[in-house]
Symmetry: C2
Subunit: 448 residues, 2 copies
């Protein structure tokens, strides 16, 4: 029998996160203060983030030690398996070898706790009693709920109202981990109240929820804010995925020709890709494919420039691929891939032609997810279906090419089965966000 | 850092299932034909089961080889981790060591595919094109849907109507694996139609669904029937859980003082217990605790006798603990623990004083499940919460006793989060099934 799962022992788990920032060929531009248009220093950001995380955000060190307390919690589910998708290979009739790193093995079902546990730890270390955050689909909110409870920190989650109503299971998960969850916009913040006054029936949006969580953190001494993707420190935390995968590929006696991940804010893809990108910069022949939905084509139709991270323009200006901060995403089912911007690290690596962005359509992604479920058993999250789809594209372009494909299965879809049912019922359709609409939303970019 | 998860390599996975039947001290009585009251031979049962499984059902061999094709599919998620619940131990302040075997690691989230894959294989081997089964909460139905698809067998699931309506995620999971699912009672069988005529608005029951699936299998040449618990061959398949756990305890340099599992039909508990029971029969000092809900007290308030396995009296008479085949379970949330009978193997082991049955109440089980979620991360299925509760009882009886506890975490609760939410909202209550009601339902036992 051939080996299907390549496992690491707990004592083989990486003890450092990797920071690619000092090695990005074209360098990275700093975030800017929107008022002065000058680089934003830590003093301003320290109102909402603890210094431990801000140091990582600005760090030029290639390696960051993972504190023992975080490793202890990681051990609940890490190291995660690297799995050879041999059943999928057979179904495709390809000579390509397909491996996936399975981040759905965490208790909440995705890669998100890799950063949530770290963020809770650094906040706890600085005496923070309470964290505020937003969540859309609910993966980040439940991860932070889990992580904060482990450190005895209170957690308040502003959950986009339409998700709050449609995803009762995610809400119940956050309750189980002891977090407070409110539908956003909520009467609990001035911004939420102002929105409710104007639009009492609004389904909410991630932009509104971010603004509420930021206001909550900015107006309470005991509270900081936590973000689940985009920022450098989040990317660093997620590199444990790729560092493990690299060790596991070595154990398998293999090395990827292409590394694939889906991109919302970019953290799961960067997490698996960064350690291999370092190899490429040292001469290895390996490609990197970041996959986004055609309905939210940040990397493939947006442009790289300075933009706000949120709709209410409360964040610093970030140098990133963006569709414009007031881009309204259509109601696709991969809720985690509907962000208007892209992590500055990934944006710089696209600019430097190291990462190839592609966009795929929703129906093909669900088709790929169903094939994956039926062959490999695991039902992928709608977000992760984008990576599955891209892996299938790579594996079937030339069925006789014996290449090695590695992708990140960032989460399972057990809490997203309603969207599979919608797919089976023919209720979903493809939607390519039109170039003219991108043009329109780009008009509101800040002037630098 | 101490080791939290004890893993096995794939090449350490057991290659045989264990059969405890020849070693049960008081022996086992045969199933009886309800008409003749004589032992039921394979010829009658072969109408609905393939010979490969009937041979296992009647087998006196201590070991049954696991076919290579089944091992290949097991590798998708097996061997499953044995986990040291050190965070739970700390929260309890106990000197006991608590280990759990995590069967929620399978793609469908429970131990059920261990038997579903085997049953699909033996049916396929005998040329069966289609399987019919029933499902209540949906764990068995989704496991058989997954397993049949792997062998290219069609699958039809009769799902208790109230679950069909209330558990859309389970239904979607079965669809994803390509199964046909209908709410039961359905117009697709004569029995279903007769029920619908009399009670068009009935929520259905497992008894009705079993009868529909049996009728489906009995009236179609291409179709057999599959059952997810109770029967001997199902118990044998589940022993892979305990065989792995035994190897893993050895790796940890430990041995359980007590082995715990929740009991519906009995397969997950027997699965983890059997290999250790063999040790006990050879002189080892180890206890076995089977846990059932106080609302469905088959083992603790029922009696051991011959009874039907279903409400419609279509099965042979089985020698088992029972509450009477027309027992109506109350609407508790551990849907997998609402069966009126108990596996004949477990029943015989209770009779022989090898297994200690206990009953626990619903609210304490959810309380235990929440504590487990917050400490160990994994949210247990409501059924598995019963095992968690019993492990906590064992660990806290004397906090200073350094005993070793092993329990089977038979599944995660990600598709049962609605019941956690009901618990948080105070909508659940305890219910002890009254002794007089047991007396009443016992009146309809068949006369032998």
């Amino acid at each position: 029998m051939s080996q299907k799962k390549i496992l690491l022992r707990e004592d083989e788990m990486p003890t450092q996160w990797q920071n690619i920032v000092p090695d990005i060929p074209g360098g990275m531009q700093p975030p800017l203060d929107p008022e002065t248009k000058q680089p934003a220093g830590p003093e301003k950001l320290s109102q909402v983030f603890p210094m431990g995380l801000l140091e990582q955000e600005m760090s030029g060190e290639r390696w960051i030690d993972i504190p023992e307390e975080i490793l202890e919690i990681y051990k609940i589910w890490r190291p995660t398996p690297l799995v050879r998708a041999d059943n999928l290979e057979k179904a495709l009739g390809t000579k390509a070898k397909i491996y996936f790193k399975y981040e759905g093995a965490s208790p909440v079902g995705s890669h998100k706790p890799n950063s949530a546990v770290a963020q809770a730890y650094y906040n706890k270390r600085e005496g923070i009693k309470r964290l505020a955050t937003e969540t859309g689909a609910g993966q980040w909110g439940s991860s932070l709920a889990f992580a904060t409870h482990k450190f005895g920190i209170e957690c308040k989650v502003y959950m986009v109202r339409v998700s709050f109503d449609q995803k009762p299971y995610r809400k119940a998960m956050m309750h189980t981990y002891g977090a407070q969850v409110v539908p956003s916009p909520s009467p609990d913040t001035a911004f939420g109240r102002s929105v409710l006054e104007k639009m009492p029936d609004t389904p909410g949006s991630l932009g509104i929820s971010i603004s509420e969580a930021l206001e909550d953190a900015a107006t309470r001494d005991d509270t900081k804010y936590a973000l689940g993707s985009v920022l450098n420190h989040v990317i660093h935390h997620q590199t444990i995925v790729g560092l493990e995968a690299k060790k596991q590929m070595e154990k398998a006696g293999d090395y990827p020709d292409v590394v694939i991940g889906c991109c919302g804010g970019g953290s799961n893809f960067a997490g698996i890709a960064v350690p291999f990108i370092i190899d490429k910069l040292e001469g290895k022949n390996v490609r990197f494919v970041g996959v986004e939905p055609a309905s939210c084509p940040t990397m493939t139709k947006g442009k790289i420039t300075y933009d706000f991270g949120d709709v209410a323009q409360m964040t610093p200006l970030l140098p990133m691929y963006t569709l414009g901060h007031d881009f309204i995403p259509p109601g696709i089912h991969a809720g985690g891939l509907r962000y208007h911007g892209m992590s500055p690290i990934i944006s710089a690596l696209i600019r430097d032609k190291i990462i190839e962005p592609i966009s795929v359509r929703q129906l093909e992604c669900f088709e790929a997810g169903v094939l994956f479920s039926q062959t490999e058993g695991i039902i992928p999250a709608p977000e992760s279906c984008h990576a599955v789809r891209a892996a299938i594209i790579e594996a079937t372009r030339d069925l006789n090419e014996p290449k090695t494909i590695l992708f990140n299965l960032s989460g399972h879809g057990l809490l997203d089965l309603a969207s599979y049912e919608s797919y089976f019922n023919g209720e979903l359709e493809n939607y390519d966000y039109p170039a003219e609409a991108v043009e329109e939303s780009m008009k509101h970019l800040p002037q630098i």
